[in-house]
């Protein structure tokens, strides 16, 4: 797992609502909607519609990313790395 050397570098200038929506929709496409939704239930801080759209503005994106990594790590480390790359890239 290749985490950036400074995880605090997750800045505040990104539109995280759009970013997380993209991540969730991509994950739904790869894994399927049911498993993605079930796992996202364990990631507090996001309100998600059935199609994966995030409807709220995340207040603590760093914590959300950390939780998402923990939750999806057991499902697919490869996909989790792609999520991290998307957030920190």
């Amino acid at each position: 797992m290749h985490l950036p050397s400074n995880p605090d570098s997750i800045g505040t200038d990104k539109n995280y609502q759009t970013l997380f929506t993209q991540i969730i929709k991509d994950t739904m496409l790869v894994l399927g909607p049911e498993i993605t939704s079930a796992k996202m239930q364990k990631v507090p801080g996001l309100t998600i519609t059935a199609d994966g759209t995030v409807t709220n503005t995340p207040t603590d994106p760093k914590k959300i990313v950390k939780n998402m990594v923990e939750v999806f790590m057991t499902i697919s480390p490869f996909l989790t790395q792609k999520m991290i790359d998307l957030v920190y890239g």
Partner: protein
Amino acid sequence: MTPITLSAIVLTLLSAGIAVVISLRTQKMKKKLIAEEAIQKNSLYEISLFKEIQDKLGYELDREKIISVITKTLGNMFISSLCASLYQTKNGLMLKIKIEDPVDQSFINDTKRLMVESYAKLTTTSLPLSILEEDIQGTIDPKKTKRLGSYFNVPLVVNNKPIGIITMALAKPLVFQEEQMTFVYKMVNQAINALSRLEEVLDTEKEKLTSTIGSLADGVFMLDNNEQLFVINDAAKALLDITDENPTITQLQNAFPPSFLFASKIHDSITKKIGIQTQELILGEHTVQVFITPVMPISQLEHVSRHKDIPVVGVSVLLHDITLAKSITTMKEDFINMVVHDLRAPLTSIRGAAQLLSQEKTALNEDDQKLLAIIHTQSQQLLDQVTTLLDISHLQNGKITLKKSDVNLNTMAAEQIQLFTPQAITKNITIIPHLDTTMPHVQADASLLGQVINNLLSNSIKFTPEQGKIGVTTRVENNTALISVSDTGMGIPKEKQAQLFSRFYRAGAGSGTPGSGLGLYIVKNIVEAHGGSIKLDSEENKGTTITITLPLNS
């Protein structure tokens, strides 16, 4: 109400309260134990399922087989309408669907579409993706119009590269439990990680092999058992005049002359499990020896006696460049021929002149005659050695050809004994013949065989001291003709016996007896050219017996 009654009521209430608390705690503990039991059961179930997959896979490296085993196991675990896999093969994408519960074509199409989109996203490939081959098993029933209700995809990633996905799909919605699905991902990841580790080991070993082969001076390349090129070193590419970094098997085949029948030899080596050698093959400006060897698993080589059951995993081809060695041999041959021809004539003249002079006994005094005898003997010896050098050269280059005829071994032996009798008399050595009168004629080169017996007798006389004995025996044994020359000479030390028949080695070197050491080497080669064999028995200070065996029906 009396104090006693009051106390009793309080005590009763207290007891009831304690009982309730205990009951609640017991229930809580019970629930906890039930939950732990469920967790342990799940863990045992996980372990047994994973073990089942591991037992089926073992050290399997074939990705298609691994995906097939995993897909089948998942199909057995879940109730589903279908279980499918989409994965990359050497030639393209392969889709396999196993229908568990009959569905219609639109269900299949929807599943296919979802799988392709998932795989494209996973591999960041643009759509559309073309599927090379489809394998759909089970019943497609147009009457079973079901919508895709519930599904999940399991990505297959080996060494950080996605190779495919497995999909479970069902017509009913929201059927798969999160814990079940999580367990599936965990199990599949573990199986695929095992494959990743095996492939990593394989890649490392392949790199080591490539590096080792690359460092060899000889040209080497290896083909797998499908006759496809596995590895080739630069030396082989240079000899075959191949410039491509990764040549194809066709380029390799075309680099050999058509008369060499490269494909046929490779095929024979693999299918018949035989090594094939070619002593000389011309490749452009080079002359090479070619060694084709089937490659079999080392672990099974101990069962060599059952080698027909051991599978061949490939074939190795070694190209040994003998261009330089050949040109040196040619130069050597030319030199020897030149030397022999240039030396023979003057030596013959010297010997002839010495012989003539020695016949003029009245003109020369005793001392002069002795000197002449030395000139005659030494020039004859030099002439013999020059002739021997030429024989050796011919032998080594395979130029000795036998001129066979009917040979009477007894007559030949008797003639040679007669030749050496004067020398034997000089040393007071007795030569005793034991010639089998029933000895039949043999097919042999009379001149060369005569040289053999001559050489053996010559050695015996040289290395037997005065008053010694030499026996010459011929006999028939087990359809072979035996000739042996035995003596009571100085014998040969045991540690020197193994080298006796090798070129230039003389067991009696330093003993003062003259000789080039080439004689027994030539004797061995001549005997073996006749299909025979030579045997030595010798003991120091007791004597030596050399026995030659010749086949009677050669």
